[in-house]
Assembly symmetry: C2
Homo-oligomer: 736 residues x 2
């Protein structure tokens, strides 16, 4: 596809104007007649027995319409089932006899105003017996650790230890790792630590729910998947999916955390109870106390290499701090990644702690596992005296429809890596991260209208500009200009099924569905235009909003004329539908180079350059791909420098707000430089791959190397705060 | 299709619960942030020159955001183009130099409240020079009549006269009518008169419009066709259709009058001018003064018959009182109807009068033309001593896929017509009316969901229960129960094109589109289920929400299982689309028998029985078909007994409200009896025909005969009010 008219163009996002003018409608903008406001009573303790709950004073507050506790749900289904990214969580809607994390929901109140609801929450009396809390996954696995979930059974781990509080494990064994280590010239063993990080979307979790007299549910929410929310509500509340309509409003950021279950279920429960619509909007503090942040990781990784640099064996033992529920362990095998390593022995464990449940965050588990994997590779390259880029080129395998080596080479060339220069206390770092596109089921419908414009309709949520990509795909296939394509989304009642907007799958999966729907349109256009123009179908050219005879551009009809003719034909108006699922998906790789300066006095790290390359297949809209790369790169380095959810020993969070949880702003960052590497994939629409996830993965490790290169310290725990940098510098000065 | 599971079942309307519980959302329920209210200044005179308009006092009222007149529209497109039912109207948005009917819009005001807007309207000063008004079409055609529209040219009519104020004409000539009359034994000539009637939908005309900073228009309205409204706005305001989104809200009655142009254009103009959303809701008085009622008719009809009853020739000369714009003349040829008449000479003229424009009203022109045609046939039968049912059977032609004779025979059998009995002052009447289904373009999308439910999506507006019919069609084809089908409508941005909900075309056209979309689903279901069940596709049975092997009902998979398998297959999720247009459509016939009692003292007519038969093809939902028959029959007899828009000689309406415009209630009527005659049509879905229009057509004529049969008077002018009945009885007593 070298000769594309719209694919590959830099097209401004279709939703840009509505967003910058404040016209985009968010869930919290909704005001329904008779609407109530819902709030929660939350546990102040991370681990405690509930001895008594008394809601009578709260219920007596004028304006309070319902106070809901687990006891009042008796007989109703009230278990949450959260299936984002294949992990099933299963827990009660409210704590009843025991709380397991600070912020856990104990009761919900619906009242005619938010103030009244909050007043009622304050009047609920709860008597607790506080228990010791498990905060660190390394403590939680000890044989003498308290048990968080009843019925838990100790697990015999691969390293021979017996682990407590294990929720799930992932193992990957290839070859013979002992033999691999035996053949190695050098063996490295390190432990790397990444704390939890919050997705920090600007718009908090929010839902409005309404239940009609027949029990049909309507739920407006901010989500990455209206079908995911619907199916989740169906399972939690035992209502058939077709009796639930989920309407996706504009979404103010998701990054993996907006798949439902956090507020929507409660809004529906309160609406069922009161007969009124109910709105719930999280505060920022609630976001930090009880949403679905990324799990933390403690990984011990052991790698054997020959002195020529060839990696022979890798072993990893990972404890994922998932809180009361969640999973990260499935990402542990990423320590093999794109490298050709003959012997692998990897074991990851999801460990329950007295912290809130965790969920997906852009490339789930990727930034954490990549830090351990890539930081150690940098350390090994340095120890062997091999350039870290060359070291990777040496060990990378060949990909199918992806070019790992070219991608890292291109980013290195961009900064003239092999001739790089640095000033005092400056250093360079490099790392890579790969990801594979999701390929879930999608359907789309396209219509050619009588004014020659095209409509694209689906149930897809746009969080990253994918509507614009869909418009470009339809425009390219049908031969219209992109300003004549309108992309709209239905609700779960009206739209055919759409993939979740996550897992780097939207462009790949829905893009194919839209392409197929547009091809159906194109085929009928050609058939009708051939008739109108008295030409052979093969001789027709669809371009610039018209169909013309090749070599005779004056013999042409507009697409509007064709649509009008169709509406009078027996075949009827021109519309097409396309479906897609489960075809082999693409692998992508991002490579990141950062240059940083370390202040040896304060320990403050300042970023000087951030340069990222990405194999994006074909870039449908380069501007959108660059946007994804810029956002991902920033989040990656932010995990490295600033972001962490900090907990006191009793399990209470120390920084539940943006004053103390440091999110970078533009002032903290240099301009991000990007390099697109376009290796098309056969199954992608026009060769495109999903690009959402890979850019976040290499951030921590690249930064770690830059700091090491700058001031000669080998940090193992993110984020690399001034305190930790200073401590390492002191340690180095002390000769340790 | 004798073996249908869902087609032919009496299924309650899907929207019933929402409507009876008050949950259905109408346009006037909308409240948008910053919304203004729009109202109009209207002419108090039916015909006048505007010498001066001064809006300065109105503009100075605090809270008034805009005062719009034709002068202020200079440079903007501001002509209304109304294409309901193929008639193009073309007039200015506001009167500028001349008003042509009482109630014509002179200015529009947008203000922060309705009260303020009305106050501002009162402060607009207009100076008029009143002109004589043309109220009766017979006066308007006279050579000395004032001219209503500049540039009008006199027309030489078929009868040799020169007619003024003719807007349009329709002629139909077959055979040699002079020869036909020459061969006739008897010739009858009569003039019949029907006044204007208003559709009297309960929900008045209403629209809310919003215009975004880029000029994109969103319009919420009560309409029978969101695409019609969109295209009309596009033409009036010179905005490309794809920059206009029309959202159809629940519609509280339409009957042909809700195709846009009455309020929506003005709401958009005011929204453009002010930058705010604007709502306009008509009052009932405005409905009567300036909407789109049915035109009046004065028809002279001449019929020649042999003494054995065979009709040999028919001639008609019709003046349709359309007001300033509109058309009825195209319905004039209905005087031939279903009869085998060799010689026809029919001429209809649309005559401009100083009354509001007219539009479509259920079977446009049908009730009026049928009155003249059928009343005269009853008179002829009586004069020849032939039973009026027998007289029709004698002259009816054979239809294609329709049975005219069986339909009238069935209704006659229902009342035991040939042995009918009557008490003192009671009489029986009969008449028929036929109609042909529209066959406009439609597309629909169906989706099979993973819970085994089916979604039907289109841009169709449901005014008569057609959503329920669509659900039944999809359910039948796919083999699900009807409670598992959800029917949703999109807006013009999201939905593929749909026919207008008028012209008795919805079930025929959209029904076919839905059927085709469902067939696409069925085909993929069979393919996948054959695989899952290891059976031949031909051996499979789709029924009761599952697919089973014929003869082995235990070998079955649910439709949900099939959908789940599809979502993992390369073909992707199961959805289907269907399009339809322009295939030969069906003819239907309704036959009506009424029994009435006339009080010879007061002249009051009381209905004793109303019995109607209808050839509906296959009744998808007999309850819905009966509902259409009951509603149509009531409107038909109401035109005969009560309804009329009455005008003073100066053109002012005398009864612009429901206190004086008599709509019947249940207290005025006996229970309506219905007889379904099911003659399937090849092209209809499951043989179905559209049924909306025929039931209204025979009402006036059947009633006229019943009164004639009761008290021996031959009324020629509807409605048959007590005053007219008494006058005729007096005349009869006087021997005239």
């Amino acid at each position: 596809m070298t000769d594309t008219a719209v694919i590959g163009q830099r097209v401004p996002r279709l939703d840009a104007l509505d967003k910058v003018t404040g016209r985009a409608k968010y869930t919290s903008d909704l005001k329904l007649s008779g609407m109530l406001y819902g709030t929660f009573l939350r546990s102040p303790h991370a681990h405690a027995i509930i001895k008594r709950i008394d809601t009578s004073k709260a219920e007596a507050v004028p304006g309070v319409k319902a106070v809901l506790t687990q006891a009042k749900l008796a007989g109703k289904v009230a278990k949450l089932v959260d299936e984002a990214h294949g992990t099933t969580m299963d827990f009660l809607a409210f704590a009843d006899t025991k709380v397991k994390y600070q912020g856990e929901k104990i009761a919900a109140v619906a009242a005619i105003s938010r103030d009244i609801a909050e007043e009622a929450v304050r009047l609920i009396e709860v008597e607790y017996e506080v228990l010791p809390a498990l905060v660190d996954s390394r403590d939680a696995v000890r044989s003498d650790a308290p048990i968080i979930h009843e019925g838990e059974k100790p697990v015999k781990a691969a390293n021979g230890e017996t682990l407590r509080n294990v929720l799930r494990s992932t193992d990957r064994v290839e070859g013979d790792v002992a033999e691999g280590f035996a053949q190695s010239d050098r063996i490295f063993e390190d432990t790397y630590i990444v704390p939890r990080a919050h997705q920090s979307y600007i718009e908090p979790q929010v839902a409005v729910a309404e239940v009609d007299p027949s029990g049909k549910v309507t739920c407006w929410t901010s989500t990455q998947s209206i079908f995911g929310v619907r199916n989740n509500l169906s399972r939690c509340l035992d209502i058939p999916p077709h009796k639930i309509n989920v309407i996706g409003m504009t979404i103010g950021g998701g990054f993996g955390a907006k798949f439902g279950g956090v507020v929507d279920v409660y809004a529906v429960l309160l609406a069922q109870l009161t007969g009124h619509p109910v709105k719930i909007v999280y505060t920022r503090e609630e976001e930090f106390l009880d949403a679905r942040p990324a799990p933390g990781l403690v990984m011990t990784i052991k790698t054997g290499v020959r002195k020529d640099g060839k990696i022979l064996a890798r072993q990893a033992f990972a404890l994922w701090d998932v809180g009361v529920q969640g999973s990260g362990s499935w990402a542990t095998p990423r320590v093999k990644g794109v490298y050709d390593i003959p012997n692998i022995d990897v074991h990851g464990y999801d460990i329950a702690t007295n912290k809130p449940p965790t969920g997906a965050y852009r490339a789930p588990g990727g930034p954490q596992a990549s830090f351990a994997s890539e930081a150690q590779l940098n350390k090994i390259a340095n120890a062997l005296g091999i350039d870290p880029v060359d070291f990777r080129l040496l060990n990378m395998r060949e990909g199918r429809e992806v070019d790992f080596k070219q991608t890292i080479r291109k980013v290195a060339e961009k900064v003239d890596w092999w001739n790089r220069e640095k000033g005092p206390n400056e250093g360079w770092g490099v790392a890579i991260g790969e990801w594979t596109n999701g390929n879930g089921p999608s359907s789309a419908v396209c219509t050619l209208q009588e004014d020659g414009s095209v409509k694209v309709f689906s149930g897809l949520m746009d969080i990253t500009g994918t509507d614009t990509a869909m418009a470009q795909i339809a425009a390219e296939v049908v031969g219209v200009s992109v300003d004549r394509v309108a992309v709209t989304r239905g609700d779960t009642n009206s739209a055919p099924i759409a993939v979740a907007s996550g897992g780097s799958q939207v462009t790949f999966s829905m893009g194919n569905a839209v392409r197929r729907a547009a091809v159906e349109i194109r085929e009928r256009v050609v058939e009708i235009a051939a008739d109108l123009l008295e030409a052979r179908p093969d001789d027709l050219d669809l371009r610039d909003n018209k169909v013309s005879v090749k070599g005779a551009p004056d013999r042409a009809v507009t697409l509007g004329d064709v649509a009008k003719a169709a509406s009078k034909s027996k075949g009827g108006p021109i519309s097409g539908k396309g479906s897609f699922a489960n075809e082999p998906s693409a692998t992508t790789i991002a490579a990141l180079i950062v240059k940083a300066e370390v202040d040896p006095i304060t320990g403050k790290v300042t970023l000087r350059r951030i340069v990222q390359s990405l194999d994006c297949g074909k870039a449908i809209n380069p501007m959108a791909v660059e946007g994804q790369m810029e956002g991902g790169a920033v989040q990656g380095v932010a995990w490295g420098l600033w972001e962490q959810m900090a907990y006191a020993p009793d399990g209470r969070m120390l920084n539940p707000g943006f004053l103390d949880y440091h999110l970078p702003t533009a002032a903290d960052l240099p301009a991000i430089e990007t390099v697109l590497v376009e290796i098309p994939t056969d199954n992608g629409p026009f060769g495109a791959k999903g690009v959402g996830e890979p850019p976040i993965t290499p951030g921590i490790a690249a930064l770690q190397l830059a700091i090491a290169d700058a001031v000669g310290i080998d940090l193992h725990q993110a984020p690399f705060t001034p305190e930790r940098v200073r401590a390492a510098l002191r340690e180095k000065a002390n000769g340790n």
